[in-house]
């Protein structure tokens, strides 16, 4: 039984088991219910498709009769094959059409030639209706449906792909001269159901991520921390400290029982001591003083002083996740939403205006962030988080009710204020609860949570918008933001205040003029900021947030698909950036990676702008994730390296200025693309942006080499 070697093994064991069990159940449950939904949908769609087949057969009938009207004998009607082919190719749900004599001899056929004409099968088609009416019982219905569905999956081959409909009789002057049979394509339904499947997959990913977060937090709060408490009490007791804790939970779980048990020992001893002390004291004060030594030695009068803070990074995880999830819901359709509400503003071009809400959102964040830092000092992070919810939620409701572009601009700015405040408060909270050495790790948690929320939010928002429209999505955002507030109120500790000063200064981008003035003379720093940091953000907000939704929809994708495609970016950047960071640590090839990443991003924009297809954009988004994943860590390292010699400027100041400049890029992105779009196509704007990035990166490369040469010359 050596596996109980520490509280960590127990916690991680619990985490592992629970995550495994939950994910297993969630996946299987979704598989079962998806399968069930698909079977049901498939079955109830069939009769509808058959009705369509009949209507189509009737219109063929009309055309045939027109030919007979013109005096053409039935068998001699020309061009029937291409006519039927045309109908089959126009409607995806049809595989083939047979026109036969009343005796089921084939006269004409159109559509897929691979299906062998078999008169025996036609007999079954005529029987179809009555046979179907026979299957009433639930189990038979389901198993039959399940078999049908199985036949649609690729694993079970092509057998029974086609479903023959009951024939329509061709009549002219009351005389039956032929029949029309239409073969329905079972795969048509499969194609539609694939979409359902993808949506469900996205939800599944989200649910898995969310439950992962929840389990982490639950285990932390219910297992790790209480066990820690048990250990603490026990250790104190073994170190002769029998202080008691003020309250134990009456209806506690197992570990609380342990705590109560341990505490009871202390309470028991303390009580005995107290009684004795009273009696001694009443008899002999001097003896009592002697007696008190015993009490002091074992702390028999005191409370147990907790050594560590209860607050942890975990607290902020879920509120932050839920809030950024709410915020990301709109991402896949924002430009489309604005396009719907378009009205001329200040003589700007339409494309500029569509980019305006994104630009203003970024601008407000950039403007608010420096203040948010000092507010965190004043109010504390928990309160600041709750304050931030007001403008955020008001903004969502406003956007949901927006009537024109001005409304959207105002309410998005409101949300931006909230967003800035909340992210800063979470960042501050995490920074405050982790020790200095774990700072980077804490920030990684922060970024990781933001990223996974982005991934889920974008995709799910797209799906919801696709189903119920843009406006309601903002209401849903408001609800989620409110949930985030509730969670923050329950989970965040209000008393974390240490280290805040430093956090605030870092976030607040302390733009001491001196620091600015020093850095602006640093060619390498300026080159990195102007030619890499800012362009990267321009690509992110301009190309990714603004252009991609518009471009994809112009190529015919739904918002659900757009969301799915945009999800790829975060999906790829999450694993890539730590790999790149490790690579930087090991090889120190900082500059090379930055240049490579930038060149790569420019190149991919140029290359994929040539193919105006959805798949090209999918590739572009995915590879952009790779490029940005590569740039992320090395960029910071490179900036630090560039500023190594600036002794007057601190690390945090450099980072602050970098962040501020990045925000400038974020604001510029949509505006730049909007300007490009006013004279070129989506593909054109994409290509030009790529070209711009390439040129700029080459300029940066040149400056690097130049300054390197200079340095070696000086050195």
């Amino acid at each position: 039984m050596n596996d109980f070697s520490s509280s960590n093994t127990i916690t991680s064991d619990m985490n592992r088991r629970l995550v495994f069990v939950t994910i297993l159940v969630v996946i299987f449950a979704s598989m079962v219910s998806t399968l069930y939904a698909l079977v049901e949908i498939n079955q109830s769609l069939r009769p509808e498709l058959e009705r369509k087949a009949h209507v189509t057969a009737n219109s063929i009938h009309e055309d045939m009769n027109r030919a007979l009207d013109a005096g053409i004998p039935f068998e001699k009607i020309a061009g029937v094959k291409s006519y039927l082919d045309g109908i089959v190719s126009k409607y995806d749900e049809f595989l083939y059409i047979y026109v036969t004599t009343p005796q089921d001899e084939l006269v004409f056929r159109g559509g897929d030639e691979d299906f062998v004409f078999d008169p025996a099968l036609l007999k079954n088609a005529s029987l179809g209706e009555t046979e179907r009416a026979g299957q009433e019982d639930v189990l038979g219905h389901f198993s039959n449906g399940f078999m049908q569905l199985l036949s649609l999956t690729p694993f079970f081959g092509d057998h029974q792909r086609d479903v023959l409909t009951a024939p329509i009789e061709l009549k002219y002057d009351g005389q039956v001269y032929g029949k029309i049979y239409i073969g329905l394509d079972g795969y048509f339904i499969r194609g539609e159901l694939t979409n359902v499947f993808f949506d469900i997959l996205i939800i599944l990913v989200t649910v898995v991520l969310v439950s992962f977060e929840f389990i982490l937090v639950m285990v932390m709060m219910n297992v790790s921390l209480p066990i820690f408490k048990v250990e603490e009490i026990l250790r104190k007791q073994s170190n002769s400290d029998f202080g008691r804790i003020s309250h134990t939970k009456r209806w506690g779980d197992e570990i609380n029982n342990l705590i109560t048990l341990l505490n009871n020992t202390s309470v028991d001893l303390q009580e005995r001591y107290k009684r004795l002390h009273e009696r001694v004291f009443s008899k002999d004060a001097g003896a009592a003083r002697e007696f008190e030594k015993l009490g002091k030695r074992f702390n028999l009068q005191g409370m147990l002083m907790s050594s560590g803070s209860q607050a942890s990074v975990i607290d902020a995880r879920i509120p932050l996740f839920v809030f950024s999830f709410a915020e990301e819901l709109q991402k896949s359709f924002m430009p489309l939403y604005v396009d719907e509400l378009y009205r001329p503003v200040l003589g700007l071009s339409r494309d500029m205006i569509i980019g305006l809400p994104i630009a203003i959102f970024m601008f407000v964040i950039a403007a608010i962030t420096p203040f948010a830092g000092s507010w965190a000092d004043k109010f504390g992070n928990k309160r600041l988080f709750l304050f931030g919810l007001f403008p955020a939620i008001t903004g969502y409701i406003g956007c949901a009710l927006a009537n024109d572009i001005y409304d959207v601009l105002v309410w998005r700015s409101s949300t931006a204020i909230g967003y800035a405040i909340i992210t800063i408060s979470c960042q501050g909270y995490i920074a405050a609860v982790v020790s200095k050495e774990n700072r980077a790790k804490g920030m990684a948690v922060f970024v990781g949570v933001l990223m996974s929320a982005t991934m889920c939010g974008t995709a799910i928002g797209g799906i919801i918008a696709d189903r119920i429209g843009y406006h309601p999505v903002f209401f849903i955002s408001a609800v989620f933001a409110a949930c985030a507030g509730l969670l923050a109120w329950r989970m965040l500790s209000s008393d974390v205040r240490d280290e805040k000063q430093q956090v605030a200064t870092e976030i607040g981008a302390s733009k001491k003029p001196s620091a600015m003035r020093v850095l602006i003379k640093n060619t390498r720093f300026v080159a990195l900021v102007a030619f890499c940091a800012i362009p990267t953000k321009i690509v992110l907000t301009g190309f990714f947030y603004y252009l991609i939704p518009l471009y994809l929809v112009s190529l015919g994708t739904s918002t659900a698909e757009t969301g799915r495609i945009m999800m790829l970016y975060s999906f790829i950047i999450i694993p890539i950036s730590p790999i790149a960071a490790r690579f930087v640590d090991r090889t120190q090839k900082v500059k090379e990676l930055v240049v490579f990443g930038s060149l790569f991003s420019g190149l991919l924009l140029v290359v994929f702008s040539y193919y105006e297809t959805v798949w090209a954009l999918v590739a572009a988004v995915a590879l952009l994730g790779v490029a940005h994943g590569i740039i992320k860590a090395p960029l910071i390292a490179a900036v630090m390296e560039a500023c190594e010699d600036e002794k007057d400027v601190g690390r945090t100041q450099v980072l602050g200025i970098l962040r501020t400049s990045e925000r400038v890029g974020s604001v510029m992105g949509p505006l730049l693309i909007g300007a490009l779009l006013s004279f070129t196509s989506y593909a054109g704007a994409m290509g030009m942006l790529g070209g711009l990035i390439l040129v700029i990166t080459l300029a940066m490369f040149f400056i690097f080499n130049n300054s390197a040469v200079k340095q070696t010359a000086e050195g």
């Binding site: 055309d63 045939m64 027109r66 030919a67 009207d69 013109a70 005096g71 053409i72 001699k76 009607i77 020309a78 061009g79 029937v80 291409s82 006519y83 045309g86």
Partner: protein, 333 residues
Amino acid sequence: MLKRIFFSLFLGMVLTLPSLDAMAKTKQIYMVVWRGCEDACRGFKEYFSERGLDVEITVRDANRDKDVLADFVTEAMEIKPDLVVTWGTSTSRGMIGPYDTETPEKFLSGIPSLFMIVADPVGAKLIREYSSSGREFVTGTHNRVPEDVQIRAIQTYLKADRIGLAYNNDELNSVLNAQKLQKLADELGFELVAKAVSVDENGQPDKQSLVTMVDEFKKEKVDIIYVGSSSFITSNRDIFTQAALDARIPVAAGSEIFVRNSHALLAVANRYYNIGQLAGLQAEQVIFKGKKPIDVEVRSLSRYSFIINMDTARKLEKFPPIQLLRFADLVNK
């Protein structure tokens, strides 16, 4: 203050009066036709009645007599209608006159005019080019179906890899048509077997050569014989199409008369009724939308009619494809 209100009221009345007047006044259209008010004339009239546009159309029938046109010009100049519409090439040339005429006083001047049923208005010197007539008061419609449209239409009906072309070297139109087809042959991927009408000892085109020409086409194994614009063949259409029918070669023509009044299998042409409607649309631009005729493009229809002789189709056993039946105009059912 009061003064100002009065002034603006007055100004308003002054400004609105003439336009009210214009709206109330029925527009006058003076129309000259060549041989009675047929389909195009009807289509034109109905364009206005369908839309409830208030016009009064005065129709003058030249009854195939060029000489009366001068009187119509005089009458029109007296009435000063809002628009003069002319039907056919002869009427249009008689009323509107060619742009390079040396006796402009013989024709309409200062009155907007619109011609229709003119196959080649540029050739007839009515206009300089299609995009704009080049004449301040002239616009119109033309009813030429481009050769590539005709060939493509023929190809939707039947296999036409080898097309026999009958043309007449004596007529410029016919020669031009032949040249265009020659160019199209590569583009559309068919072989062209062109044969000209031969001349007799007097240098006149020979009727009998039409029959021998069909024989030659038969030897050349053409899929179909195409007749473009040639008035010689048009006037001898029966001999020609009967010979083709006997040789079991289908004939496609550029003019519907080959199908309606002879034995050609099909023709791709503009229906006169629709041209009348198009002319109505052009006229509306001029008299109701206030456009100058010179700014109104000389248009043709974008939809063409497929005219099929079912009697010939039956005899040749070449029935039209089912899709064509939806919009084809079947004659001799």
